[in-house]
């Protein structure tokens, strides 16, 4: 059974429709389609009541309002039970005064984890690694991040990546390495010789025809 679930998994691909699911969560039964029209950050953690995961849940809660400003929702997942999730979030509130504002999938049968390739047997055969899937309002998988069990995620990068993708969608541009909102963006490169010649006359800040930047 375990082998079957894992072998049916595999990594989803950027640009494909995100795998559909219906799952029991701390907010009741949720489907991927419930998030249509908003961005979804689906993330997995190895286990409840563990130290790194607790720091991550605090950090995810800290960026939740910023995510909502960007029309994005959070949805956590681990292979623990919903009772375990409830006990953990109540413990975090009791001990740390932080109320977890987003639902967590109780993926006891690993159905969702398998569809999204969240279990990496070389790292752990029983826990999900630290995955982040960014799904757009049309349900398309737009970005994936994977971290090992030992290292917590960087919330700043998740926000930065979301900002970058939303900027690319809105303005039909790309963003350079380490881009931050307000920085210059990359003009998509020309794809004909004629366009390449014209590109140099278009007033952009160009290193050469294939690397031009502009302000938004």
């Amino acid at each position: 059974m375990e082998e079957d679930i894992e072998s049916k998994g595999g990594l989803p691909l950027i640009g494909d429709p995100a795998p559909e699911f219906e799952a029991v969560t701390t907010f009741g039964t949720l489907r991927l389609e419930d998030y249509r029209g908003s961005w979804l950050i689906l993330f997995s953690h190895p286990a409840d009541f563990t130290p790194v995961c607790t720091t991550e849940f605090i950090a995810f809660t800290e960026i939740y309002e910023e995510l909502k400003k960007r029309n994005a929702e959070l949805l956590g997942l681990s292979v623990d039970s919903v009772s375990s999730h409830i006990a953990w979030v109540r413990n975090i509130e009791e001990k740390l005064g932080i109320k977890i504002p987003f639902p967590i999938i109780a993926d006891l049968n690993r159905e969702v984890a398998s569809k999204y390739g969240m279990i990496h047997p070389g790292e752990s055969r029983t826990e999900t690694v630290r995955c982040v899937f960014i799904i757009d309002p049309e349900g398309i998988l737009r970005a994936m991040l994977y971290y090992p069990l030992t290292n917590g995620r960087n919330m700043d990068e998740i926000l930065r990546l979301l900002d970058a993708m939303q900027t690319s969608d809105e303005h039909k541009v790309a963003t350079p390495a380490n881009w931050r909102p307000g920085d210059k963006v990359v003009v998509p490169p020309p794809n004909t010789q004629e366009m390449a010649e014209e590109r140099m006359k278009e007033g952009y800040e160009c290193v050469d025809w294939y690397l031009c930047k502009k302000d938004l």
């Binding site: 907010f27 009741g28 039964t29 949720l30 489907r31 389609e33 419930d34 998030y35 908003s38 929702e73």
Partner: protein, 73 residues
């Protein structure tokens, strides 16, 4: 069940959602009126519909006679 407790009572969020469906209403309008995130509204509408407390007509929702009675407690 996120809308109906094991002893058959409506949760506070379910009461808000059911309370916003006197007339045919879209999930988006319910979310706006109640302040409940759209994903939760959609999930709750499904559950309340399965319980026979709501009916769906052309993508809009309205509480049934059973829903009305349940809301009154």
């Amino acid at each position: 069940m996120s809308c109906i407790t094991p002893d058959g009572k409506l949760t506070e969020s379910a009461k808000k959602i059911l309370g916003a469906t006197k007339d045919l209403t879209t999930p988006e309008e319910i979310s706006k009126v109640t302040g409940i995130p759209l994903f939760r509204v959609r999930s709750s509408l499904r559950e309340l519909g399965d319980a026979g407390l709501l009916e769906k007509i052309d993508g809009k929702f309205r509480r049934t006679v059973s829903g009305e009675e349940k809301l009154k407690g």
